[in-house]
């Protein structure tokens, strides 16, 4: 089956005075139709560059990018795409409705369908009163929402979104998450770049992580989380004199408050250790999984483990 999006050894070097700046260094991965894929990386990693190559705003230095089997340079490739740029801006003199009608028309969708879709879309985005308000009077969050609405107005099969919830309030963010899940259930593809890793962890099927133009990881979220699991940390207080001896096989240390910390490598030893502590009269203070979050996996890949709260 043709992938919804395909990056094939894609490289991009920006021409600058002297040496060029390499923004993408031969990244390759496919996004299948009907999945949500998070595109993660620190600032300047090359996420926006990759998205702009897909949208034919930038050209690849080598390799290629494809949408539904069409080369990104072919306008046909954007027939089924809704795109939201990182910083969305549009002519302030247009009202929300006129703006959406304009882009509905440019997407080639039937105008009656567009007109019927607009109130529904604005209501979902919690801005029904903004329909007849000029964009120049919108707040930052509203501007971002209308940007998202223009990406959706053509009823595209693929959404390419660069930090879609930037500037939105928590309620709006939750709604947008819901929306992505709903779109996936309709068989649509969502490819989103964001810095909110917890959101990606919650809804994405797969994650691509890049840094300095290199693809560091591309896998299912569950696989990445499992790979990052580094055991469990149990903190306890008290216990009889034999307790430490009973835990001899575990890594034991004392924390700053004089409590004992035990690190167990897997769920089986975790259960055994908990049982032993309780049998010897110890009080469990806390139990925490080490790693196993997208945040910690991301930091590990960025060689920033020290920033993890494990």
């Amino acid at each position: 089956m043709t992938p919804a999006l395909k990056f094939d050894n894609l490289a991009k070097t920006y021409r600058e005075r002297g040496a060029g700046k390499r923004a993408l260094n031969g990244i390759s991965f496919d996004v299948e139709a009907g999945e949500i894929v998070g595109f993660l990386g620190p600032n300047g990693a090359g996420k926006t560059t990759a998205m702009h190559v897909l949208m034919d705003i930038l050209f690849p230095t080598s390799g290629r990018a494809e949408i539904m089997g069409f080369d990104s340079r072919d306008p046909e490739s954007r027939q089924q795409v809704g795109f939201l740029p990182e910083v969305f801006a549009f002519d302030g003199f247009l009202t929300g409705t006129r703006f959406l009608k304009l882009f509905g028309s440019l997407s080639g969708r039937n105008q009656d369908l567009v007109a019927a879709h607009i109130p529904e879309l604005l209501a979902f985005l919690d801005m029904p009163d903004a329909a007849n308000v000029r964009i120049k009077n919108y707040s930052k969050g509203m501007t971002q929402k209308i940007g998202l609405a223009q990406a959706l107005i053509g009823d595209p099969q693929i959404l390419i979104l660069d930090e879609p919830t930037s500037g939105m309030d928590p309620i709006a963010k939750a709604r947008i998450k819901q929306l992505f899940v709903k779109l996936r259930s309709e068989g649509k593809t969502v490819f989103l770049s964001t810095h909110i890793l917890s959101d990606v962890e919650d809804i994405a099927d797969r994650v691509a992580i890049i840094n300095q133009g290199e693809l560091l990881a591309f896998d299912r979220v569950s696989t990445l989380l499992a790979a990052d699991r580094r055991g469990f940390k149990i903190v306890f207080a008290g216990g009889d004199t034999d307790l430490r001896g009973a835990l001899a096989d575990c890594a034991i240390s004392n924390d700053s408050q004089g409590r004992t910390e035990v690190t167990c490598p897997d769920p089986k030893s975790r259960d055994l250790t908990l049982q032993t502590i309780l049998q010897h009269g110890g009080d469990i203070v806390s139990l925490k999984a080490l790693g196993g979050s997208l945040q910690s996996q991301f930091l590990r890949l960025m060689h920033q483990e020290g920033l993890s709260d494990d």
Binding site: T48, E76, G82, F83, V87, F88, F93, L102, L106
Partner: protein
């Protein structure tokens, strides 16, 4: 789709504060310049003064139209790039050629409205004050005027492919100054040490580059309407059409090969 983009461009121009200030400014200057002459002509009952006023009126309209066309060309997509709207258009299933043609068409509509307003004002003044017959060549003259605006619009668009708008406009005006070189070679050849043939060739060459056919024939044609004076109008139309096609084609090719930078947070 092209017309949708064109109509949006026109609406954008209509809401541009810069354009509004420019139009009001040009209107005021025109009125203050033309009205005293019209009044003098009417008071003295001298129809010749009326004809001269018309020539002056069209001369001013031509100069203002030139600057407006140049501004429109130089900011054709540069303004959209600056305000961040270009990326949203580019994400639609449109080729870049369609996008640029749509935007150009929007500017053409604006220039047509400008020319329409100029002519309407002239015809009203003509009807009330001068009452001399309007020759058939008037239509041809208007076509030539529109193409004159278009050639400056297209030149602005071409130069803005690699220069910022203000520099692009300056470059076009600089280019148009080749008319001066043409005049030097054609009319002041006795002062030059070059052979008459070379002077003629260079003079004609610079004249071709000058983005201006000989306007004096055209305005004269408005009042005389005889075939020998209409012929230069056809020449003018062909000349402007050629340059417009050349500049717009080059601007489209360069736009198609250009990469754009989005706004960053």
């Amino acid at each position: 789709m092209i017309n949708t983009i064109a109509l949006h461009k026109l609406a954008k121009l209509r809401h541009s504060r810069m354009i509004l200030i420019y139009v009001i400014g040009c209107g005021c200057i025109s009125l203050f310049t033309i009205l005293p002459v019209i009044l003098m002509g009417v008071v003295s009952g001298n129809r010749i003064v009326g004809a001269e006023t018309a020539m002056m009126y069209f001369g001013l309209a031509r100069a203002f139209g030139l600057v407006a066309a140049l501004m429109l060309g130089a900011t054709l997509w540069r303004q959209d790039e600056k305000d961040g709207t270009l990326l949203t258009f580019m994400a639609r299933p449109l080729s870049r050629i369609e996008l640029l043609i749509g935007k150009s068409l929007g500017c053409l509509y604006a220039l047509l409205i400008y020319l329409g307003a100029v002519v309407a004002f002239y015809l009203i003044a003509h009807l009330f004050f001068f009452r001399f017959s309007i020759p058939l060549s008037f239509t041809l003259y208007l076509i030539q005027e529109l193409l004159f605006y278009l050639v400056y619009f297209a030149a602005g668009a071409f130069f803005s492919s690699f220069l910022k708008p203000l520099l692009a406009a300056t470059a076009v005006l600089g280019w148009a100054f080749t008319a001066l070189l043409a005049k030097i070679f054609l009319f002041a050849k006795t002062f030059l040490s070059l052979s008459p043939t070379w002077c003629h060739v260079l003079g004609k060459g610079f004249k071709f580059l000058a983005l201006d056919s000989d306007i004096s024939y055209s305005v004269q044609a408005l009042f005389t309407a005889d075939i020998p004076t209409i012929m230069p109008l056809f020449k003018g139309i062909g000349y402007y059409l050629l340059w417009t096609v050349l500049f717009i084609s080059a601007a489209i090719i360069l736009f198609d090969k250009r990469e754009f930078a989005g706004r960053r947070s």
